[in-house]
Symmetry: D2
Subunit: 396 residues, 4 copies
């Protein structure tokens, strides 16, 4: 029998080890098709993005990696290439994480990239992914994340099944280029940027392609990429059971792929997701599951928006760690619905902010990273320093 005190101590230990990867693009401007509102002080290049990301790590101690988007975050080879960026990250105390291939902003990809009916476009898209593998070799990254934006807008526009065949073929070419210690993590999305079909709309499709590719292919679950009402924690449990959950893209949503801060829209859902992670023993650092943020800060400040999101994931995790699993299992097996639900809710109802403050302070971190960052003067500094140039956004 574990005691509350043991659970608390186990939670402290696990929380001290938990890491969350940040997306470089969250620090640039973002918006909707209607408008991207600019924000003072926003980075103008990958170096400044990494500096901003490092602020999140500095105050939370929980965000030591930054994902890059290629080509957005490519640094000109004439300048010394990606090595300088890696060195800059190291200077700032963080490392380069997952490499994201961007195949949604080249004019050629209007009707698809890896699934395009035109073999020349498919070849170009495959080549882009192979170049991403080179970036991974240059940056020490091990995961190539493919979010495939491909799809169609109208019934009949293209052949659904042909597109799957082309996708399988394109993915196989990319997979063949992996080093033995590299992985493809393959994301799915319900809709957007296409509105009739998406070529990987659901976890089933992603998983089928991963199974066909081999052991180095895993599914990515973005919490905003599902149909209304979808039980996401069920999918988490299912993919863990199948041994194919490779990574999370955390964010939150009320409607579509809103890309709001993780935990902002439905903190209880985030708790239930983390509860399946803890239940499936996938929180430990060597579990093979990479926990990443993928968000847009359209109206709020970006660095503190990331800090808040990291804190929200930590709080959900802390609550999940506090669940009395022995008592829960007993209630479940005895069919006591109210007792079992009550045990889960007991953990959720707990205010874990003091616990997390303690974890942070024991590691020499501020008890409240958000407040500490806001008091640090960083935002004022970058607002005055970063004048001129072009602010980074969802573009090169």
């Amino acid at each position: 029998m574990t005691t509350p005190e043991q659970r608390r101590q186990d939670a402290v230990d696990a929380l001290a080890q938990q890491t969350i990867e940040l997306p470089s693009w969250a620090f640039g401007n973002a918006g909707t098709r209607f408008k991207v509102f600019p924000t003072a002080g926003v980075p103008r290049d990958p170096f400044e993005k990494i500096s901003d990301a490092a602020q999140v790590h500095r105050h939370t101690g929980a965000a030591p990696r930054v994902s890059l988007h290629i080509p957005w975050d490519l640094v000109d080879d004439a300048d010394g290439g990606m090595e300088k960026l890696v060195a800059h990250a190291a200077d700032e105390g963080v490392a380069i994480g997952t490499i994201n291939s961007n195949v949604f902003q080249d004019d050629d990809y209007k009707l698809g990239s890896l699934t395009n009916a035109d073999p020349a476009v498919r070849r170009k898209a495959v080549q882009h992914h192979l170049r991403c593998l080179d970036v991974m070799r240059a940056t020490g990254s091990k995961d190539l994340k493919i979010w495939l934006p491909d799809g169609t807008n109208y019934p009949g526009q293209d052949d659904i099944r042909d597109r799957q065949d082309r996708l399988a073929e394109s993915l196989a070419e990319i997979y063949a280029g992996l080093d033995p210690d590299m992985r493809i993590v393959l994301e799915y999305k319900f809709f957007e940027p296409y509105f009739y079909t998406m070529d990987i709309p659901d976890w089933g499709t992603s998983l089928l392609h991963c199974l066909a590719l081999g052991e180095q292919a895993m599914v990515v679950l973005d919490t905003g990429h599902h149909a209304p009402g979808t039980n996401i924690e069920f999918i988490v449990a299912q993919l863990l059971r199948a041994g194919r959950l490779g990574a999370f893209d955390f964010n939150s949503r009320f409607y579509g792929d809103d890309d709001l801060m993780a935990g902002a829209a439905d903190p209880f859902q985030l708790f239930r997701i983390m509860n399946e992670i803890v239940r499936g023993d996938a929180l430990r650092p060597d579990s093979g599951v990479n926990f990443m943020l993928d968000q847009c800060h359209n109206v709020e400040e970006k660095v503190p928006g990331q800090i808040r999101s990291v804190m929200n994931v930590q709080e959900a995790t802390a609550k999940a760690l506090l669940v009395d699993r022995e008592a829960l299992g007993e209630a479940q097996r005895s069919g006591d619905v109210l007792a079992a639900n009550g045990l889960l809710m007991d953990a959720y109802s707990t205010d874990v902010r003091p616990l997390l403050a303690e974890v942070r302070e024991s590691r020499g971190l501020p008890a409240d990273p958000y407040r500490a960052f806001m008091a640090s003067g960083y935002l004022d500094r970058v607002r005055s320093e970063r004048v001129g140039g072009t602010q980074a956004g969802w573009g090169a």
Copy 2:
């Protein structure tokens, strides 16, 4: 190059062969949790249900099989057992089709059947399925359809992953009981009768279990069992590509699992589904895909409701058969979005009722089966004959 005339002739041939299986339970009373409204003349036993189903076949020539629900359609062994029912069906010109196992109406199944935490309940549920295999041997059925109603209502109520393990084990026991020419067809459902988790909520889960079981396990797609906005024809294409689409449960919906008449809520969707069937060459009788109705006629008359549904499926199929696939493929490959969409819509806009009338009349059937049935006097007859007894409904 096919000519319109050739496509028309191919359509005539294919339509003459198309069959749709009817559910015995559609002829009994149905309703919502609020009320089951009785209808005069409704069958009181499986024999009368089959007689009603035979009326649909008599007028459409397209519905030669009837699915049974066990135990609803069990006939007392003391009376000579299921043999009498098979003989009655033969007399009426139809055959017994798929056997459906019912594990949602026994008090023991409150917290699940094949996934119940209690091994004794699981054993009972497995035994029920093995008895269904006996019914199949007695009736000549080859498909055991498992729609698993199991799930939970509250977070924490039971362990999501444990339930998957129990499900895999239960299914394996049933699968082991199959004769070599039998199949399990495994249905999935988004929600209802449980409201937090369903143990098989999506095609991915159903497929994973089928893959684990073996070649004799196939997925059933019920058109009403998806999240809002789900692209069902995509799933059809995907399951055909994986070689695992075993059967359809046709019906239509505006909101949840409304179980309205097929084609009534979104006839364009039904057309797009049949278009993937034709595209995937799965319409031919030996394709392994069984086309069934699964509906409730809460407010409308049942026999003509089934006739209308069969006609709706036929119309959607006829339109799909008229698509000019060569021109469509060309437009798709050339990236002409409007032309490709237009070619699909040309087929959909066609009024195929004359074509279907011709197909029917050439086979000695009434041009308009609905009108012919309504004029036949059958409803008046059963209303006056079927007095006393207990009307069949969603119960024994």
Copy 3:
């Protein structure tokens, strides 16, 4: 400036006054169209339902009223009529609250009640409501709640606009029968039990009819009766602004009208709703807003399910009361998105169970009503006493 201590004290005062009305039908058996699972000890008549409801009040001190459903809760006049029931309630320490008219279980209502195309059926439905007014006079009830189940299943089945005209006319007849101190509270519902149209599907339709009727007609908001993704707290704010929010039916949902325990599916949503209530000063007892539960306990025990639900509403209310509204208003006016959101979340993240325990104990109530009830032996007692008879359910 309010201090945290003042807010806490204000919360204590407000929580001590908050009352939640219970539905008599929650204590009977409930289920889905697939199955109603029986539960040992369930009431067999309105008297036993009220005794069960009184248990909730006994342990929470917050549930002093019970809603009735007519005709389900009619007591035979020969036995002394409703007076006996009122006296029994008083004996048990509770009172009769809202009267619900049931027009979904008579065979005549298959195609509608107040909107039926047949004037005789409409007249019958209007008469039923006028009889409900008599029940109100007998029981001292002031609110007639009309949840109109009417609708259609198929496009074309009936004329949408004619049904609105008939509805307006029927409602006007009922309204004309109100005593000056009585109200109609008019509920809306997105779908179910009909699947194409509902005659009052949304708050706009309910409000239009209330405006046409007069000052004694108010809108009822059932938290489970909206389209996926609907922002319910917005509707709360809107109806309060219009002065037409008459009552709540609390429950929770993941998919359709799941009727789960309030706060079980999305506790953050319940908090946001109560936050608008507090913001709109509608929590005070004389605000004209009646807070009711409307739930089904399909798989869980009913009395403790109600207790848990009352506690969940109390916790959401407590958190809403703790919001630092001055600081929030300042952050909102200054456009500080993260600060404003953070202030709301601070209140939500607070563990209010100790505060509520204190409120209860100061009133001589158990700190944990759920635990106290479970320890009381009541369930064992009624299980052994209530043998024979017909268990109450969704039927007469």
Copy 4:
């Protein structure tokens, strides 16, 4: 009793008079937040947009008006102002229709325009609308369409009710500036560009504000602006009954506000909507309902995309006009569900393309406007002529 021939003739007459207004912005580039793909030959200024729109009218004879978006379509006063644009439109055979106020692309509107917490921003937004009224006076427009993009992304970000009060005040100021023959048509939208609240999310909110403003304020229904599953034709019927349906924005959707071509995603829904229009006698030119398109052609050619959309609306209208309303009313009143539904479906199943070809040819128009336009050489011509400059898009 009407005969089929009379219904056909009435349909011919009504179709010859039906007009559909085109949005100037549909002819520029459009896309998603991820990418706007450029299209060769796209207009660079409002004059070229109107020339393109005039092509739609030239081939369909049904699109004589063009809506403008201000400031996108403002012409520099130094050049002679909007008068030149009006004259250009007249030369091209079309007129300026509705004026749309754009308050979503100025940096000041990040946290709202008419509802912004900052009075200076609200004043600026009101002033912009008053300038739009001047544009209306210069162009002869009578309708000011307000689609309010305002909303919030996070719970607590702003006060829901305060925003309604500010909105009411801002609208009242704009309304006060209307000439007696002008109208405000007020649009609602479920979500996007904000993801927690929209300040006018539903028809109820729009209607409440219209009722408060006065007789010159009407609701606009955009077919893409509803929650999943919403019955749009019900809202059409409801707004017609209330006398407050001012205009349509037609487009189609599978998921969010996809802005696909009208009739592309759910042609049966478009038919049901037009059926309520015909039923409510709102098709006649003086009904006060303006039928407009509001679409994005992200992947398809724009001028033919508009032509196809106009044709789709015409086909839906033609089918609605063919409904045998006498027989339908009889079936509805007699409660014959299948007959009533069948009568509606009979009209929908009809291939109305020959009828529309006849209407067009009798007016000297091409039988197939899409084909005629594609053969006209217009696209080739503008592709070669419109080189240099900046293509119009969702921006100035």
